[in-house]
């Protein structure tokens, strides 16, 4: 027995357990004794904040009050943590979830895509990267729709058109537009006009005849679509950056939802019966 004890006393494992135990007690007790230490930098920041809000430097007494308040807050915060008061607080909860999402996003950075991956992505998502449809058209503008009067809403004869043009008002951007996209038309005439315009232009008999009135914020327009330039298949080099960004965005999103899946896999999830 004595030999065993002696052997035990010499065993490094015993030393490990004993020293570790002391260390644990020491550290634990220093945690419990609760030191609150405020740095000089912290004080300066508090003073600066005081100055911003009150527009003067704190007096020595006010400084003491500032520190007193800070010490009190820190102590309450520490005690609150021990009591786990943050646990069911909706604000704390929201903030922690938000932080966790950022952490996951940071961990979800995908590898750098290869040329082939990007080319494949483009083929799979061709529609997103297509050059938009463009329209070449002419219009005549009237400040007041009443000038157009009771005329038909489409298929003006050439005679009527000439007559209408003589009564037209000047439009500051001119009367002829070449190769505009839907968003170009929106930014020049407003989206209400652009939507009506495209709807009309897409009709089979929409080209080469005067049509209207189409209204905009500016007034009324009679339009004649001269050409529709169909959407073009994109050239890889021209859209490479956009494809890269879209690829990265998609992969990051996928990685992130995978990461969430993995987290969920660690939990047994118990839902209300109706929703299982």
């Amino acid at each position: 027995m004595k030999a065993f004890l002696r052997k035990l006393m010499r065993d490094p494992f015993t030393h490990f357990i004993v020293i570790g135990g002391f260390a644990f007690m020491l550290l634990n007790s220093s945690n419990n004794s609760g030191v609150i230490r405020l740095s000089e930098g912290y004080l300066q920041a508090q003073k600066a904040q005081f100055q911003r809000q009150i527009h003067k430097s704190p007096t020595p007494q006010e400084t003491r009050q500032l520190l007193q308040a800070a010490v009190e807050e820190e102590a309450l915060y520490q005690e609150g943590l021990k009591l786990k008061l943050g646990q069911h607080d909706p604000v704390v909860r929201k903030r922690i979830i938000q932080k966790m999402r950022f952490v996951l996003e940071g961990q979800s950075k995908p590898h750098r895509p290869s040329l082939q991956e990007l080319q494949e992505y483009l083929v799979e998502h061709l529609e997103e990267f297509r050059e938009p449809v463009r329209y070449t058209f002419r219009h005549v503008y009237y400040r007041n729709e009443s000038k157009i009067g009771e005329r038909p809403t489409t298929n003006y004869s050439d005679f009527e058109t000439i007559k209408l043009r003589s009564e037209a008002d000047p439009f500051i951007l001119g009367n002829d537009f070449k190769s505009l996209t839907f968003s170009d038309i929106s930014s020049k005439f407003g989206s209400q006009f652009a939507t009506a315009f495209v709807k009309y232009a897409e009709q089979p008999q929409g080209k080469d005849v005067w049509f209207g009135p189409v209204s905009s914020r500016y007034g009324a327009h009679i339009i004649k679509v001269l050409e529709i330039h169909p959407s073009q298949r994109p050239d890889f080099e021209a859209v490479r950056d956009k494809v890269y960004n879209a690829w990265m965005k998609l992969k990051t999103r996928n990685n992130k939802s995978d990461a969430i899946e993995r987290i969920l896999a660690n939990y047994h999830i118990d839902l209300p019966i109706a929703n299982r």
Binding site: G41, Q44, A45, K47, A48, Q49, R52, Q53, I54, H55, K56, S57, F102, E105, G106, K109, R134, V140, R143, R165, A168, D169, P170, F171, I172, L173, G174, N175, D176, F177, K178, S179, S186, S187, K188, F189, G190, S191, S216, R217, Y218, G219, D241, N245
Partner: protein
């Protein structure tokens, strides 16, 4: 966050004054790239189209932007201009941010204009891969998160020492010690600025976007602003951008630009665009190189050639005009009271408002105009134009023949982010939330009177709330390509807006028909029978001839999210010279200043109606052929809520606050301090048309 802002400004300006880099500009061999010929673009029009853009944009390459946590590159800025979304500071360590921004209407053109000063230091000190990142210089340059650390004070004190000395002579900088390393760094940043612009330029026949290579020369001796943006015509540029430490006076800058670019005869062409003359303190538009050396016709002609435009509006306020009765070159015009950083000029009489701004020349030491501490009407566009007429008489050349543009001066790399509704600031993390944007309550007065506070007041602007979302540059050009746009900038066929995409044309001539406004071919008539904005009236055909001006304006049609506002009126501003004195007057020529339109301040809903478009042909009946004169038009919208009102309303509703009950200590109490008007009348200013007396 706002508590950091001042320190960033202090450190930034401090170092700006202190540190220099020595560089000899050398010109590159021309790299030939296909410039779209006139007629190449689908949108080509002989009668020109208006293009909307931004010619004043900073990214994380600018030291002050980097200090404010901005990490965007020139590439990002161009992507943003074309309509892509980007993230705004503050970023986390992975560069992520949940603050994002996207234009709802892309721009037609943009120039990224990072500060030429400290290009190298910024690239070194904000990259952890450099050993110097951890050195004392970089640590000081980055400042502290706290913003009030002794380190920040040190930078401030050093900065003050540099400010009162002539620029470029105080050089304690990192690059003074390691010039060989710095030159490479500066040139890397400059190259990647060029590459970003080259990549962003659409040379296809769609001509959907034009980029310009540029930078900002940031001279501000004695804290009086003299800043200028340098814009290159094409990709043939100088080897290195010129900084305040290379040329510390504007005329030296022009000399160096001519030497390193214009006179190389290799296709290099530049123009310089001054901005924030509202903060110039009377140093920006003086007709002399030194007080005792008035401009010669040669220098005046050089200035007229290289500096055809002024940025009259940006996020640090308007530089059109400033009010005061009986002060030389000041105005008496209600509509000058718009997004001014300064107040009415003090006259010294009892009628002066308490917060009037003194003339810089009345201060014992004329420094600190950059903070709005003092101002000089001779640095506002009207005063500048009037002095130009006098120079025309004195030496036969007008050095101040300036057309107008607007821009943002964003430091977030967000060109064209001018929307009032949802304005997210232009200076990184220093104005990243509403509390920092609106700043402290101005009615709470400071009792600080010590030297440090006094010095600080010279540098700080009192409140960021006075800043705005910035404006746009508009160029009438045949097509959206570098050559066409640059030609029109040189011809001043440009105008400025305070943000909205108002479209306006302005022609002057002797034979413009009175019924131009009802003729379909307004522009064709304008070009055939007159000159466009930025031009010169030819000599009068008959001794009794009176000039006519045709002005047409269409409201900004807006977007789905942000519908445009109707117009209220068009005004013509005339300035003239008679017997050595200059005069100005403002006339409403279309619309109605009293149309009854207003804003509901609780909801920001616009009430009453204005005009979707306005047009007028106006004859100057008081014209005299013996008087030099200029004319420009101002197109004014109906009133709308200013950005702070939109955002304060939203915050107040969410937090159930009201101006009646809010306490002065509340972080949002500045919403109610009345330091800036709750409504604004957004506008456009056309470049002038000049008449030279015969």
């Amino acid at each position: 966050m706002s508590k950091y802002r001042n320190s960033y400004i202090l450190i930034g300006l401090g170092w700006l004054m202190l540190v220099g880099m020595s560089k000899v500009p050398v010109t590159l061999e021309p790299q030939l790239a296909e410039e779209p010929a006139i007629g190449h673009c689908n949108d080509f029009s002989l009668h020109k189209n208006p293009y909307f853009g931004d010619l004043h944009v900073h990214t994380g390459y600018s030291m002050d932007a980097a200090q404010a946590g901005v990490i965007t590159t020139p590439d990002d800025a161009y992507r943003f201009a074309k309509g892509e979304e980007i993230m705004l500071p503050p970023h986390d360590e992975d560069g992520h941010s949940d603050r994002t921004l996207q234009l709802d209407r892309p721009l037609d053109f943009t120039a990224v204009t990072d500060h030429s000063e400290f290009l190298a230091e910024t690239s070194i000190c904000f990259n952890r891969n450099n050993l110097a990142y951890y050195g004392p210089y970089c640590v000081t340059m980055r400042g502290t998160e706290d913003g009030n650390h002794p380190l920040d004070t040190l930078a401030f004190a050093l900065g003050m020492g540099g400010i009162v000395l002539p620029g470029g002579e105080f050089n304690f900088g990192f690059c003074k010690l390691r010039p060989e390393l710095c030159e490479k760094r500066a040139s890397d940043s400059w190259k990647s600025t060029q590459n970003a612009a080259q990549k962003a330029y659409d040379r296809s026949s769609n001509c959907s976007f034009t980029s310009f290579i540029g930078y900002e020369w940031t001279g501000s001796p004695a804290m009086n602003n003299q800043h200028r943006n340098i814009i290159y015509r094409n990709e043939i540029v100088s080897e290195a951008p010129i900084s305040y430490f290379d040329a510390d006076k504007p005329h030296e800058l022009w000399e160096m630009l001519d030497d390193s670019c214009t006179h190389q005869n290799n296709g290099c062409e530049i123009l310089t665009i001054p901005h924030n003359s509202n903060l110039g303190g009377g140093t920006m538009f003086q007709p002399y190189t030194e007080k005792e050396n008035p401009y010669t016709p040669e220098i005046a002609a050089q200035r007229q050639r290289l500096e055809p435009l002024i940025e009259i509006y940006q996020h640090k306020g308007a530089s059109e005009c400033v009010n005061s009765p009986n002060v030389l070159l000041a105005s008496e015009d209600e509509l000058c009271e718009f997004e001014l950083i300064v107040s009415d000029i003090c006259t010294g009489s009892e009628a002066d408002a308490e917060d009037c701004t003194p003339l810089c020349s009345d201060l014992p030491v004329p420094i600190g105009a950059f903070s709005g501490r003092c101002a000089e009407p001779s640095d506002f566009a009207r005063g500048i134009l009037r002095n130009g007429l006098k120079e025309q008489s004195r030496i036969g050349v007008n050095p101040f023949k300036i057309g107008f543009i607007g821009s943002t001066d964003t430091h977030n790399g967000t060109p064209g982010a001018v929307e009032e509704r949802g304005f997210k600031g232009h200076t990184g993390k220093t104005d990243a939330d509403l509390e920092s944007l609106i700043g402290t309550n101005s009615t709470a007065t400071t009792s600080e009177n010590d030297l440090a506070s006094k010095l600080k007041s010279i540098i700080e602007t009192d409140s960021i709330k006075r800043y705005s979302a910035g404006g746009l540059a508009v160029i009438w050009a045949e097509q959206n390509s570098r050559g066409a746009l640059f030609d029109s900038m040189q011809n001043r066929e440009t105008y400025a807006t305070s943000g909205p995409r108002i479209i306006t044309r302005f022609f002057g001539g002797w034979h413009l028909p009175d019924d131009m406004c009802s003729q379909e071919n307004f522009a064709k008539k304008g070009y055939a029978l007159g000159v466009p904005m930025g031009g010169d009236l030819p000599s009068a055909p008959l001794s009794e001839s009176k000039p006519k001006f045709a002005i047409s304006a269409f409201m900004d049609v807006g977007s789905d999210n942000f519908p445009g506002t109707e117009l209220q009126q068009i005004q013509v501003i005339k300035g003239w010279e008679k017997n050595g004195e200059t005069y100005e007057k403002v006339l409403t020529v279309a619309g109605d200043a009293n149309n009854g339109a207003s804003v509901n301040l609780d909801t920001c809903q616009v009430q009453g109606s204005g005009y979707t478009n306005l047009c007028a042909v106006w004859t100057d009946e008081t014209f005299s052929q013996s008087q030099n004169a200029f004319y420009y038009a101002r197109v004014v919208e109906n009133p709308t809520c200013r950005w702070h009102k939109h955002q304060c309303n939203a915050a107040f509703e969410a937090q159930k606050l009201s101006c009646d009950t809010i306490t002065a200590e509340h972080p949002l109490s500045a919403c109610c301090d009345g330091s800036t008007p709750d409504t604004v009348q957004e506008r456009a200013w056309t470049s002038p048309i000049w008449y030279q007396a015969r």
